[in-house]
Amino acid sequence: MQWNSVSEFFAMGGYAFYVWGSFGVTAAVMGIETLVIHRQRQELLRNLRNELLTEGASS
């Protein structure tokens, strides 16, 4: 391992902004995409169930 201390690890040899920025934006995009798909599914299921209920009530 090439890190002598935690602060050295976070400093990334002076490239902290670029390295953590790259990994950070990638993690953020993946996290948000996963969350959005999950939310879409919840909403879709809610809508479909509501449609079913109203159909059941009218017939």
């Binding site: 490239y15 920025g21 798909i37 999950h38 879409q40």
Partner: protein, 246 residues
């Protein structure tokens, strides 16, 4: 009759694929998480400091996987779209639609991480280099695909129009891939190729390959989850969806 034959066409029906995708999705998600953990460990704790770029080169562990994903997703998306045009299968268009947003995000990530790498190494966030420009066009092709799709109300007609766009855009993928050979670009050439031994330390190479596989697993997991949403939405008036959501 051989009863052990797998009836692949069974899965080309959205109803059956919905169930299959739901069963496969958690496994790909789990693989993505495990491989990403291993890949990140190698990226930061095993791979040595680069002789020329110091710690700044570590951006490679997200930049290369994101970039190759953006190109591969395009090819897979175009293949599904072409299959849909040729055989008029409903699932094909749904698969292409499920892949497009993830492809666009990876093209975006490729450009952003590349920019974050270019600034300290080249001294510029952006240059109109052949590799960078053709990757930007790839992002625009994805965005065009998504815009065209949302502008046509009938999903089956949207699938066909988008399929034509996707197939025409395929010409851009080899241009991106070979741009570093065809033009004298600022972007470096391939570090890994099938015909030569890699020009990287073994730990760097392993870290990169594991991250690439992790991104593949992530893409498959996310695409399967999204295609399930698309199937539910488009088949909402069928009996099986009514039973499935009850």
């Amino acid at each position: 009759m051989n009863t052990r034959v797998i009836h692949w066409f069974k899965f080309s029906s959205p109803q059956n694929f919905y169930v299959l995708a739901g069963r496969m999705q958690p496994w790909f998600a789990a693989l993505a998480i495990v491989l990403m953990a291993v890949g990140l460990w190698i990226s930061f704790f095993v791979a040595p400091t680069d002789a020329q770029q110091g710690e700044g080169y570590r951006i490679i562990f997200v930049h290369v996987p994101a970039s190759q994903m953006s190109m591969f997703i395009y090819l897979v998306m175009a293949a599904w779209a072409g299959f849909g045009l040729a055989f008029n299968t409903r699932l094909s268009g749904m698969m292409a639609s499920a892949l497009a947003p993830t492809g666009a995000l990876f093209a975006f990530l490729s450009l952003v991480t590349g920019s974050l790498w270019g600034k300290p190494m080249w001294g510029a966030w952006w240059v109109w280099d052949a590799r960078l420009t053709s990757e930007l066009i790839l992002l625009f092709l994805y965005l065009g695909f998504l815009a065209l799709q949302s502008s046509i109300d009938d999903p089956r007609r949207a699938d066909k129009a988008c399929a034509v766009l996707a197939l025409v855009g395929v010409v851009n993928v080899p241009i991106i891939y070979f741009s570093v050979k065809w033009w004298n670009t600022l972007h470096q050439g391939a570090s890994v190729s099938l015909t030569r031994s890699p020009t990287m330390a073994a730990a760097m190479l392993w870290g990169m390959l594991i991250m690439v596989i992790a991104f593949w697993m992530y893409t498959i997991a996310v695409t399967l989850a999204r295609v399930r949403n698309i199937i539910l939405d488009r088949e909402r008036h069928t009996e099986w969806v009514k039973h499935a959501v009850e």
